[in-house]
């Protein structure tokens, strides 16, 4: 603060006409604070032309009183001393605005929460209320009209994640006329849904459904699809996000004619993550039949750039020296559709990894897929009458103290919601192909909660799937069959038979594994997302604002928010698209005007403010060599104003003159009171 601002004193300012309204709050204030006395005291202050009290200033008659007084007394500043500004500041600002006054020429004094409700000392509270109103009078003299900032919303969206939720969100946004950029981390679209075979409850092929959505997306000229692309960083706020994206080279372009030859020629192999490690793939590969984009991609971690593929296709269509490129995408809103990962059992959890013939549900689904690695065959030794067991709730509904903690130190205590129906669906598929198979299902509770899902349970029961209920505190134990007659032996205590200890010889054990969020820690930091205890992203309110993040302009679609089946994920995606489109349709967002501004004539260009701004909203203008505040990024904390050694930065609504005169008025009153 400099002498300039310190010159602010409690003297009259020409042309300022202040009206003061003191609220009784129906006795809440007036039972302790002598409101009439406060009004009489402040009426004596310079510039105060009108001071009164009212039972409820926030009521319609109370607001009418303000509006009438503004007109009658030509008021150009209004003070209301009432409850906390968090309650009714907006109400009074609207009333002031209705009377034709700028809404920021209003000052709210809190004499209920800060005076009458916290003290029974009537004289002391009356004196305190008088000081506070007096300080507001001093402060309001220095208020200037301000306008709410309107930030135009760029009519475009960035959708992060090219699984079914991201695809549906992109499609729905584009249909409303938005320009959409869809960013997928992998070289192929489709996400986790592409790894499924037939889906409940309709029994349609997952990839056929997916192909229909992908077709709608890629055909739409308003959607730009970026595959093998990663988000580097993002800045900006709602309406104006700028995201830097790195697009990794595919290595293959549309001139590639003989892709089969190229793939066959590749000598490098690696584990195929699409089949959850059940098969191997080449360094140049297609993820699955009918994938999009319909051309191979090169996995640069595996490729040795030996050039055999280039030879095999006659040098056309493959570029092993392609470089990644970076682009910046400008968007008004962001939709996060980053999806989930299947839970990977810990080593030794139900024998996983230690014994053969143990699969996860996701692996079984890949094996049952006619287009899968085995063409629909399952690995059992006893093909005549395979004994297959399912254990439900693996990596879901875990209990602290019973289940081993995950690497993040927590147990997965939530229900993964999709695995009950998924496991029963897989069991029925097995029954369909191998009616002689005997299937046992070891469960805690069967949660086939969705429409048409319960039928799978009834059908499975009817077809002889044996249900054995286990106590989650005493989960089944898996060991190798000592007799060698079967692959595995599972010991379980069956609650339904009154606690019989059962030994089940099995040829194949399937772990119905849960759902964990895909690791997006960088995005979480970038967008400052709220995260729940279960590590999924947290919406603003589960019922009232279920697809919005607390960060304005960022929406949630699908499994990044929690376990969902495809029906729910696409529903959430459409909801997120609607919400995002509704925001864009507003055209602009309104924000408080309390931002910082640099007085260029006083700025010395020391750049201290640049180091304290939490939003990196201040930069140094190369030409003028002084600081410059980006109004779109400034959120109005005022830290720079407190830091500037030259007092060249002022925060609107909290200028040095305003705050200093407020402090002085409080203490002038104090001195006066002491003398009296």
């Amino acid at each position: 603060m400099s002498a300039r601002t310190l010159a602010a004193t409690e003297t009259e300012r020409e042309g300022v006409r202040i009206g003061v309204f003191i609220c009784h709050c129906g006795g809440n204030i007036s039972d302790v604070v002598d409101v009439k006395q406060v009004a009489a005291e402040v009426a004596k202050l310079p510039n105060v032309v009108f001071a009164t009290t009212h039972t409820f200033v926030c009521s319609d008659p109370g607001q009418a009183l303000i509006e009438g007084a503004i007109k009658e007394h030509a008021l150009n500043r209004v003070i209301v001393a009432a409850c906390s500004p968090t309650l009714h500041q907006a109400t009074f600002r609207r009333a002031v605005e209705r009377a034709g006054l700028n809404q920021f020429l209003f000052e709210h004094v809190n004499v209920r929460e800060q005076c009458s409700w916290v003290s029974e000392d009537a004289a002391g509270s009356t004196a305190k209320a008088t000081r506070l109103v007096r300080a507001a009078v001093a402060r309001i003299r220095h208020l200037e009209p301000l306008d709410k900032r309107r930030i135009a919303i760029h009519p475009s969206a960035l959708v992060i994640g090219g699984g079914v939720a991201g695809l549906v969100a992109a499609r729905d946004l584009a249909r409303r006329g938005m320009r959409v950029t869809l960013v997928e981390n992998h070289p192929f679209l489709g996400g986790r849904m592409a790894q499924l075979d037939r889906v409940f409850p309709t029994g349609e092929k997952a990839r056929d459904l997916l192909a229909r959505v992908i077709e709608e997306v890629v055909r739409d000229p308003r959607i730009t699809v970026l595959t093998d692309a990663e988000i580097l960083d993002s800045e900006g706020i709602v309406g104006d996000f700028r995201t830097r994206i790195r697009i990794n080279p595919r290595g293959v372009n549309e001139h590639l004619a003989y892709r089969g030859n190229a793939i066959a020629a590749c000598p490098e192999e690696t584990i195929n993550e699409f089949d959850f490690g059940l098969s191997r793939r080449k360094a140049i590969y297609m993820a699955y039949p009918g994938c999009y984009p319909p051309m191979p991609a090169i996995d640069w971690h595996t490729c040795t750039k030996c050039g055999k593929c280039v030879w095999a296709v006659g040098g056309k269509g493959i570029d092993l020296e392609a470089q990644p490129r970076e682009i910046e995408v400008h968007s008004g809103v962001i939709v996060l559709a980053t999806g989930y990962d299947p839970y990977e059992p810990l080593y030794g959890e139900y024998g996983y990894g230690s014994f053969p013939r143990i699969l996860t549900l996701q692996q079984l689904i890949r094996l049952l897929d006619p287009e899968g690695p085995t063409g629909g065959q399952i690995p059992v030794d006893n093909t005549a009458r395979p004994r297959i067991g399912f254990i439900h709730c693996v990596g879901a509904r875990q209990i602290e103290g019973v289940n081993q903690r995950q690497p993040d130190g927590k147990v997965k205590d939530y229900c993964a919601r999709t695995c009950c129906t998924g496991a029963l669906h897989a069991a029925l598929t097995i029954k369909e192909h191998w009616p002689q198979a005997s299937i046992v299902s070891l469960y805690q509770d069967i949660r086939t909660y969705g429409r048409g899902h319960e039928e799978y349970y009834e059908k499975a029961s009817a077809q002889g799937v044996l249900f054995i209920r286990y106590d989650p505190r005493h989960p089944p134990k898996v060991e190798k069959d000592p007799t060698g007659q079967s692959a595995l032996l599972v010991r379980v205590n069956d609650l339904l038979s009154g606690g019989l200890d059962l030994e089940l010889p099995l040829d194949l054990l399937v772990l119905a594994t849960g759902v964990v969020p895909h690791d997006i820690s960088e995005l979480i930091n970038m967008y400052r997302c709220a995260v729940g205890y279960d590590s999924f992203l947290l919406e603003v309110h589960p019922k009232l604002r279920p697809v919005e993040l607390a960060v304005s302009g960022v929406f949630l679609a699908g499994c990044c928010q929690g376990p969902m089946d495809i029906t729910e994920a696409t529903g959430a995606a459409s909801a997120a698209a609607s919400k995002a489109a509704a925001l864009i349709a507003q055209g602009n967002v309104e924000m408080d005007p309390f931002i910082a501004r640099v007085d260029e004539t006083h700025c010395t260009g020391c750049q201290t403010c640049l180091t304290v701004c939490p939003y990196e909203a201040i930069s140094r203008d190369a030409e003028t060599r002084v600081a410059h505040v980006n109004e779109a990024l400034c959120t109005g904390c005022g830290t720079c104003a407190a830091t500037c050694p030259s007092d060249a930065i002022q925060q609107f609504g909290f200028t040095d003159a305003q705050v200093v005169s407020e402090v002085r008025a409080l203490l002038t009153a104090a001195r006066a009171a002491t003398i009296a």
Binding site: V118, A642, Q651
Partner: protein
């Protein structure tokens, strides 16, 4: 219309020659809401602390604190969001860095420890706020009047010039 009860000034309060005057700078998002919380819960504290609202504790220029003392405050409180809870990401980190330096400066100027209090109060900590106010009022009362303006004048700071005019013309 409910009649305002006219209250006679408390005899004890008027008889007391001096009441501590304390200014509290509170950030809007946590501490101010915490003070509201104390009010909503009807927690009692003496009416000696006057609250000045800022958007973020990062806005609290140390010069505001010295200004309050120079103008006759007997004590000053600075409250903000707990570290990690700042509505503006890291505004309170600056407060955390500034206030200890300010405390040392004030001590160097001869200000008794206890007149300047810096504490984090969250929006939910109404009880903490009320307790803090009671404690600060008591400790400042025990220290007695500060009267910094008077002391400065006594010691001839400002070369015997009228301090007010000297500052305004500097």
């Amino acid at each position: 219309m409910a009649q305002a009860t006219h209250v006679q000034p408390d005899a004890a309060a008027t008889a007391a020659p001096w009441q501590p005057r304390i200014v509290a700078f509170l950030c809007y998002w946590c501490s101010y809401t915490g003070a509201d919380n104390a009010g909503t819960a009807r927690l009692k504290y003496p009416p000696n602390v006057d609250i000045v609202r800022v958007m973020c504790s990062g806005r609290i220029d140390p010069a505001l604190v010295t200004e309050a003392f120079a103008r006759g405050a007997d004590g000053v409180m600075v409250c903000g969001c707990h570290i990690g809870d700042c509505h503006y990401i890291s505004g309170n980190h600056k407060t955390m860095a500034r206030m200890p330096l300010l405390r040392r400066t004030l001590a160097g100027l001869g200000l008794e420890d206890g007149r300047f209090v810096h504490e984090w109060v969250s929006a939910a900590e109404g009880e903490k706020f009320a307790k803090l106010v009671r404690q600060v009022v008591e400790q400042v009362r025990a220290l007695g009047p500060l009267d910094w303006p008077g002391r400065l004048r006594e010691r001839g700071v400002g070369h015997g010039m009228d301090l007010e005019r000297w500052r305004e013309h500097a």
